[in-house]
Symmetry: C2
Amino acid sequence: MGQPLADDLGFLLSRASGQVVRVTNAALAEHGLRVRSYSVLVLACEAADGLSQRELATVLGLDPSQVVLLVDELAAAGLVERQAAEADRRTRLVVPTPEGRRVRDAAGLDADAAVEAPLGLLGDAERDRLRDMLTRIWTATG
Amino acid sequence: MGQPLADDLGFLLSRASGQVVRVTNAALAEHGLRVRSYSVLVLACEAADGLSQRELATVLGLDPSQVVLLVDELAAAGLVERQAAEADRRTRLVVPTPEGRRVRDAAGLDADAAVEAPLGLLGDAERDRLRDMLTRIWTATG
DNA sequence: GCGTATCGTGGAGCTTGTCAACGATGGAGG
DNA sequence: CCTCCATCGTTGACAAGCTCCACGATACGC
């Protein structure tokens, strides 16, 4: 960070991230979701056989205790359920309800539309490169 | 956000940003700073004639009330001072002390080194492109 | 002058991040 | 089989961050 702040990647990253999170939260509000809970819901819908909360935590980069609260919230809204895993009775698999899948799809459309405001100036090829770089940033530190 | 979460730019952005902020905060801790206060200090050092807190807020993408607390913190540590602006007595210019400049330089070195962990896999050209894209994301929504 | 807008500041309330514990379960080694 | 240790989910506590609203002081347009 020795250079002008406008050139600092860490600063630019968190500022842009905050911007995108803000507009996405606004778009998800009408579905009763926020980015955090939406991410959990999406991951649960992706995995055919459910995901343990530990896996959710590592993929999302969150503390496991946060995942507990998010799953509580989604479960209270009837969007996901906790199922006992057969192999390991410590883990509880998070699986979406049919309603959860519906909400996920509807919310996804609104979120996609909203995110075009900040990302509109980026072309498809640029988005691919951005995705690639952000993924590598994440995997670099594990 | 209609696709797999691993392809969602908003999600990737906030996850990568969180990662970078985490390691940077750890590096800045020994200087008594965090990314937020460090950003304010850097901006104050850049502007030759000082910056109003309102300007700081808009550049940083923060609420003005947050800037108050950050400047309070930096002023208590003797790193910046609030100076009355001659033209407009409502505004208070934030200017760094000599000590503030020293700390800024020292902290900058550590922050630069720390951020290499998550950003190490990115080449110089990639970083330029990343900077450009993140800046455009910010300016798109103003 | 007078109304309106802007700057800094303070406060309330909520969300996030971090960390340390705890019971329950699983697994490895003697 | 039994003991020791790791892991999973959960809870609680606390700090940090964000958002919104309101206020006094100052500036500016009319």
